[in-house]
């Protein structure tokens, strides 16, 4: 099912009502647009930074510095949310290195995950992750790929109650296990849900995005560029004339704006190793956003290629 005018408007209204605030997609000059996290109304910039593959550089000093450079550009452009996982190899210590080098920016919104089949090992893993990052607490901890989700959610809700974490979430990717995810979204008091959504992979529009709006759950979108495959595919295509209406300079910005323009989306977390790309991504969080007609146009154009 694709987004229709009705579902789009319904999701917009539900999101607005949840936050008791109008959705403002127009950024203040020099800063990316923000959206409220429904459970607290805390506003966060709508573009974050993913670290899957891109920050897994091991002990390579040159590449660690490059990652720190990406983080510096991200914070400089007004970004806040950085997302990682124990599954991402050395990404966590690399983030920790970058944060230390940048003097631990106070604007950081730290989003981590717990990823172990053992419920008992969850707290120790979260603590290890926290040490890697070098932060006092995480803003958000999510259950990675629904692994041992019942047990870990119990732990995370306890941590939230004691102030050891501010938000609790759950994740999946590439369209897997949406039925279970929907069930959890209906029955558990989670603050965030994370899944894949992009101009080609639009299954989430059918149930997950409207449900997130209804239930007041913030949505983090992973793989907005389909892990680089979409930007690679569009690399040789000239931007169509109508793209000028969006104030974009690249296909990456067009397809990121497609994701960000869904009213139920709170943050998209594209991953990159390049400073110019992170700036380009944050820039996509400002300026005009596609309306429903433009979203259809973008989708039709990309699908036809």
């Amino acid at each position: 099912m694709r987004t229709t005018r009705r579902t789009f408007v319904r999701a917009s209204l539900a999101t607005s009502a949840a936050a008791l605030l109008p959705i403002s997609l127009r950024a203040q000059e020099g800063s990316p647009a923000r959206r409220p996290i429904p459970s607290t109304r805390e506003a966060v910039p709508i573009v974050g930074l993913g670290t899957w593959i891109t920050f897994n550089v091991g002990g390579d000093a040159v590449l660690r510095d490059e990652c720190a450079g990406v983080m510096a550009a991200f914070f400089q452009a007004g970004g806040r949310m950085i997302d990682s996982s124990p599954m991402y190899g050395s990404s966590q210590p690399v983030i920790g290195y970058g944060l230390q080098k940048l003097g631990r920016p106070s604007t950081l919104f730290s989003a981590e995950k717990v990823w172990t089949s053992s419920a008992a090992a969850g707290p120790a893993q979260i603590e290890q992750s926290r040490r890697f990052w070098g932060v006092p607490t995480f803003d958000l901890v999510q259950v990675h790929n629904l692994l041992a989700w019942k047990e870990h959610l119990k732990t995370l809700f306890q941590m939230k109650a004691t102030g050891a974490v501010r938000y609790v979430g759950i994740t999946t990717s590439e369209g897997r296990r949406h039925d279970l995810l929907e069930q959890i979204m209906r029955n558990e008091p989670i603050d965030f849900v994370q899944f894949s959504y992009n101009v080609v992979d639009r299954q989430a529009e059918a149930r997950l995005l409207p449900l997130a709006s209804e239930r007041g759950i913030a949505v983090i979108v992973n793989r907005p560029f389909r892990q680089g495959a979409l930007t690679q595919r569009l690399k040789s295509e000239p931007l169509p004339e109508w793209a000028a209406e969006l104030g974009v300079s690249s296909w990456a910005q067009v397809i990121l704006k497609f994701v960000l323009s869904h009213p139920a989306v709170t943050v998209a977390i594209p991953a990159t190793t390049r400073v110019d790309h992170v700036r380009e991504n944050l820039a996509a969080a400002g300026g005009p956003m596609p309306d429903l007609a433009m979203r259809k146009r973008i989708s039709a154009y990309v699908q036809a290629l």
Binding site: I53, T54, N56, V57, G58, G59, D60, V62, L63, M87, Y88, G89, S90, E174, G175, R176, R177, Q227, T273
Partner: protein, 226 residues
């Protein structure tokens, strides 16, 4: 892992090709000039095979044992596991292979590297490729010498050379010694293929040649000589 059928090899690739090849550059820089000793070990293996002095199989197995444990420890455990957590589980397998060579060679003397015929030819070819051909792949693909994979330092040429040597070998212990190099070639070949690296073919070809040699040997046991 639920819905396992929806996963593709790229879902398990945690790093980029750039990070992967830079890892070899750093590894080579950290271990230099041990490459000279590793290549010398390769040369000694060839000389032992050519002259077959008394007890040569034990010495040969001892050299392989040392190199497998060394590669498992220095590369897989200390370096590769940084970017691929699965390598931490594979590193012990390299140590196991080393221990198996110690047991089958110096301790039990249950190996003889004297097979001829097609299997022997393929074995020598793979050994030669691992020692002299594999290090050339990096510069040939435009990555420069710094990221070359050298026998006894990097796992791929070590595994290919070992497969080649095992094709030359006889004895029941082959059943114990073959699986780990075969599985490594399979794993590493899949990793390189998923990264879109052309040199995946080297590992696929090594496995195909080893399979052909084993099949030929199994079908024509009388063709063995030694």
């Amino acid at each position: 892992m639920s819905e396992w059928w929806t996963y593709r090899p790229e879902d398990f690739l945690l790093f980029s090709p750039r990070v992967y090849w830079r890892m070899f550059e750093l590894h080579n820089a950290a271990l230099w000039p041990l490459h000279v000793f590793a290549l010398a070990a390769g040369l000694i293996i060839i000389l032992l095979l050519a002259w077959r002095p008394r007890g040569y199989a034990r010495w040969l197995a001892l050299l392989l044992a040392i190199l497998w444990i060394f590669v498992g420890w220095t590369f897989l455990w200390n370096r590769y596991a940084d970017i691929n957590w699965a390598a931490a589980y594979v590193a012990p397998a390299f140590v196991v292979e080393g221990v198996l060579f110690l047991v089958c060679g110096p301790l039990l003397d249950s190996l003889a590297f004297d097979r001829r015929g097609l299997a022997g030819c393929i074995g020598y070819f793979m050994l030669a490729f691992a020692l002299a051909g594999q290090p050339l792949l990096a510069p040939l693909q435009g990555r420069g010498w710094a990221s070359s994979e050298v026998f006894g330092i990097a796992p791929d040429p070590t595994a290919i050379a070992t497969l080649g040597l095992l094709l030359l070998a006889r004895g029941r212990s082959l059943l114990l010694l073959l699986p780990i190099p075969v599985l490594w070639c399979l794993l590493s070949g899949m990793t390189l293929q998923t990264m879109g690296e052309p040199q995946a073919w080297a590992l696929h070809a090594a496995l195909a040649l080893a399979a052909i040699a084993c099949l030929r040997t199994a079908l024509r046991p009388s063709a063995h000589s030694g």
